[in-house]
């Protein structure tokens, strides 16, 4: 069974790029355009194998989303990766405190993305 990934980013370009890479790597990809959209999409009790989320987003930002997800039993132990820029160090800390598993620094390439995901995903 293929693994399911949720990618949350308000930038459609970023979303497409991540989705494209993950789809090619055999994932089923669900896309959400911000935290609120993501919560709506997962609230149906869906099981996910990995979440990749941007931090700066309208409506609900990445940090709030991570906190929200960790409250759900189904997401208690799901790996959540945040997409950050190098300059946003304090964001990274806030994300970790919210329960993020790890981070990917923008700009990244498909190889780094897949490698980082492999790093946190239980085989």
């Amino acid at each position: 069974m293929s693994k399911t990934a949720l990618i949350v980013d308000d930038s459609p370009t970023m979303r497409q790029m991540v989705a494209f890479t993950l789809t090619n790597a055999g994932f089923t990809v669900i896309q959400a355009e911000d935290g609120k959209d993501a919560v709506k999409k997962v609230s149906a009790g869906m099981k996910l194998d990995i979440v990749v989320t941007d931090l700066n987003m309208p409506e609900m930002d990445g940090i709030a989303l991570i906190k929200e997800l960790r409250k759900l039993t189904t997401f208690k132990f799901t790996p959540i990766l945040m997409l950050t820029t190098e300059s946003a160090a304090e964001k990274k800390v806030a994300g970790k405190e919210a329960g993020a598993t790890g981070w990917i620094v923008k700009p990244f390439n498909p190889e780094v993305l897949l490698k980082t995901i492999a790093k946190v995903m239980p085989a």
């Binding site: 930038s11 459609p12 370009t13 790996p79 790890g102 498909p110």
Partner: protein
């Protein structure tokens, strides 16, 4: 650069354009509401998005510059800096610069680096309290590339993970697997000494520590990288154990980790310029290099010095080069794509599905048709018609965009114009949601800009003059768009001084457009300002009156199959109304007959149709046939001569003469009969056949035959230069 992502560049440019619009619009609003935090957040997010995504494509200049803007924006939204007019100004100018940078990333045109550097410096000064160096977009590899040490080393790794390990979705086993991929992982010992009594255990917490031994050829940094996400919160020691002799199995090339830096290098692997290499190697200083470069002469200069070419020849050649450059770049920038709401596409797919069903029902009916089935057949045909019409409408709607995108540039424009001219102007936009064909939207930008400029510059008076005339100090420009009867109307309205009749008449007489004793109504006078070379502005300002006049506005709008009209009240203002077709693909046409052929004349160009009195059509030597229409002589074009047809009527008095107008010039076209009026879908001649003089395109008529659409401009040319060329062509 990550070639895998390159295919998303187009999407990025589109998205960046949207973000830029948000930033610009937001900054303009910010001037009115400097404390609006939501607004600041919105601007910041857009800038941040551009930065992040630009980096993904290696557009480092864009990323770095946006980072500077973002830094300042961040200070603003955190309240560490207040929004001042100068900061708003700086950010707006920076947005312009960013636009150019993105354009440059798209087309490869070089940017004026001085501006970028100046603004970068200004942004840095404005966010002076910020100590962060700009590192964004610069290349930072997360791990040093594997510098192979001489051979395999053995490390002792002691790791006490943070107790929240499980709560963040991490698994110790995962770390060990990754370590194993680096080399030989042995002697893993678990330290469970911190494990509390069962009753006190929090099952979600990690109480365990591990010690293990890893034999690997990799650098210690790579081992550390395995613990990237937990390193700061773990107790981690990695020690080298040289003394120990461990069986060394070289890491198989298969599980060798490669940290290729290349993907992140900003350039695309093209070799560096010589100067840069010399500077890097320390052979020369940057200053020396600059000096040397300054001495370097261009090919043209050398050739002129050698007297091989004259400066004039050189200038011509350079001009040609510039032209070619500009055409290639504009072409590149024009590759258009459109973003369509998925709902629209879904609906379309459904409709096509229905069409397929109708079609299969019809072919089923056809295969076993009897006369008794006729009512069913008619019913199906009606269904087919409905399907087709609906699909047509839906497909058209895909090309439709709200006109707001064309309006969005004006708040900024008006602000700048007002500042430059020392006027107070408020801009009111309405009808932004009116949908219009994408091509039309793109083409009305310039004419609209010209009209708005014109209103701001000539229409509205300076504040003192307004106050003297008992008007509000602040002048108003109103842009409105609305649908009416299959057309889109856009109005540009100002409450300024209105057009000056006397001045226009005087100017027109001076330019020889009208004669001194001509009695003209207002409606005949106002359109004079659309004549080429007409400008009543006494002094040419920086803003308008730069040689491109209202004639360009009119020509552009007419090129789109639209029309411009003016309404003005002295002392109270002027309204320019643009009437545009909903789409470029369909025009309203008058069908006319010449012999056996049917032609379509664009309805907008028809002024009137007349049946001339005997003697009205005369032949003038050197000018061919002309007709006297209420005192004005217009050239006559006999359609059957132009297209070499067998007409029914050859005497003008029995035929119909259509008076057509384009760009202010008129021509009388002789046809046999007027058939009626209908909408026609334009098919390109050039794409399907070749260009034919006097024909703008073709269409399929109701009876299935092909009808040609007349090109009024082309007919005028034919009237001027005779028909021989057209026939020969």
């Amino acid at each position: 650069m990550s070639s895998d992502f390159a295919q998303f560049q187009e999407a990025f440019f589109e998205e960046a354009a949207e973000h830029l619009a948000v930033v610009e619009d937001g900054l303009l609003q910010l001037e009115q509401h400097p404390a609006d935090l939501d607004l600041l957040n919105k601007i910041f997010r857009s800038a941040h998005s551009i930065k992040g995504t630009a980096g993904m494509f290696g557009f480092n200049a864009v990323a770095q510059f946006t980072h500077k803007m973002e830094t300042l924006l961040d200070l603003l939204r955190n309240g560490q800096k207040a929004v001042s007019p100068s900061i708003a100004d700086l950010l707006l100018t920076s947005t312009d610069c960013l636009k150019t940078l993105i354009e440059s990333a798209k087309t490869g045109v070089t940017v004026d680096n001085n501006t970028v550097q100046r603004l970068t410096a200004e942004l840095a000064t404005a966010s002076a309290s910020d100590a962060q160096p700009a590192v964004v977009g610069s290349v930072k590899t997360e791990t040093a590339s594997s510098q192979r040490s001489s051979g395999t080393q053995t490390y002792r790794i002691a790791w006490t993970p943070p107790d929240w390990l499980f709560q963040r979705g991490l698994d110790p086993l995962q770390f060990m697997k990754e370590l194993r991929s680096l080399g030989d992982l042995t002697q893993i010992t678990l330290d469970a000494s911190r494990l509390p009594n069962l009753s006190e255990i929090d099952p979600e917490k990690c109480y365990l520590s591990w010690e293990m031994q890893l034999s690997t050829a990799k650098d210690v940094k790579i081992i550390e990288a395995v613990f990237d996400f937990v390193r700061e919160d773990s107790v981690l020691t990695i020690e080298e154990r040289e003394a120990l002799s461990v069986k060394c199995e070289m890491a198989e090339s298969g599980n060798e980790m490669r940290f290729t830096n290349d993907e992140r290098r900003p350039d695309d692997g093209s070799p560096k310029p010589l100067g840069e290499i010399l500077v890097e190697s320390g052979a020369v200083t940057p200053a020396e290099l600059d000096q040397a470069l300054a001495q370097q002469k261009r090919v043209g200069e050398i050739l002129v010095e050698q007297k091989t070419v004259t400066p004039q020849q050189l200038e011509q050649a350079l001009q040609k080069q510039r032209q070619q450059e500009s055409t290639t770049t504009s072409k590149k920038a024009d590759t258009a794509s459109i973003r369509v709401d998925t709902a629209k596409i879904d609906k379309l797919i459904n409709l096509v599905g229905e069409l397929v069903i109708t079609q299969s029902m019809l072919s089923d009916l056809g295969s076993r048709f009897e006369m008794s089935h006729l009512p069913v057949l008619l019913e199906r045909m009606a269904e087919l018609e409905r399907n087709t019409r609906e699909i047509q409408e839906r497909v058209m709607s895909i090309r439709m965009l709200p006109i707001g995108t064309a309006f969005s540039r004006f708040p900024r424009l008006v602000r700048d114009l007002a500042a430059k001219a020392g006027k107070k102007i408020q801009l009111i936009l309405s009808g932004e949601d009116t949908e219009l064909d994408k091509t039309v939207i793109e083409s009305i930008g310039d004419p609209l800009t010209h009209l708005v400029r014109n209103s701001a510059d000539h229409g509205l008076e300076p504040p003192e003059e307004r106050l003297d005339n008992n008007k509000q100090e602040i002048g108003t420009i109103r842009l409105n768009a609305f649908h009416q009867g299959g057309n889109i109307y856009i109005t540009v309205e100002d409450d300024g001084r209105g057009l000056n009749r006397e001045r226009i008449v005087a100017k027109a007489i001076k330019k020889g457009l009208i004669s001194e004793n001509e009695k003209l109504t207002d409606d005949q006078i106002w359109p004079l300002i659309f004549r080429p070379g007409f400008s009543t502005a006494e002094q040419v300002t920086d803003v308008s009156g730069r040689g491109v006049g209202m004639d360009v506005v009119k020509r552009n709008i007419e090129g789109l199959g639209g029309a411009v009209s003016i309404k003005t009240t002295p002392g109270h203002g002027t309204i320019f109304t643009l009437k545009l077709p909903l789409t470029l693909a369909i025009i309203e046409g008058m069908t006319v007959r010449v012999g056996q052929e049917t032609y379509i004349v664009p309805l907008l160009s028809i002024l009137e149709s007349i049946q001339p009195k005997p003697g009205a059509v005369k032949t003038v030597v050197g000018k061919g046939e002309v007709i006297d229409v209420r005192g004005t002589y217009l050239p006559v074009v006999r359609m059957y001569e132009v297209f070499a047809l067998q007409p029914e009527i050859t005497t003008p008095t029995e035929a119909i003469l259509l008076i057509l107008e384009t760009e202010g010039e008129r021509v009388a076209v002789m046809v046999d009969e007027i058939l009626g009026q209908q909408q026609v879908v334009i098919k390109s001649m050039e794409q399907n056949f070749r260009k034919v003089d006097g024909i703008a395109g073709a269409t399929i008529l109701g009876d299935g035959t092909v009808g040609f659409i007349l090109d009024v401009r082309g007919l005028l040319e034919i009237a001027r230069h005779g028909t021989s060329a057209a026939v020969a062509a």
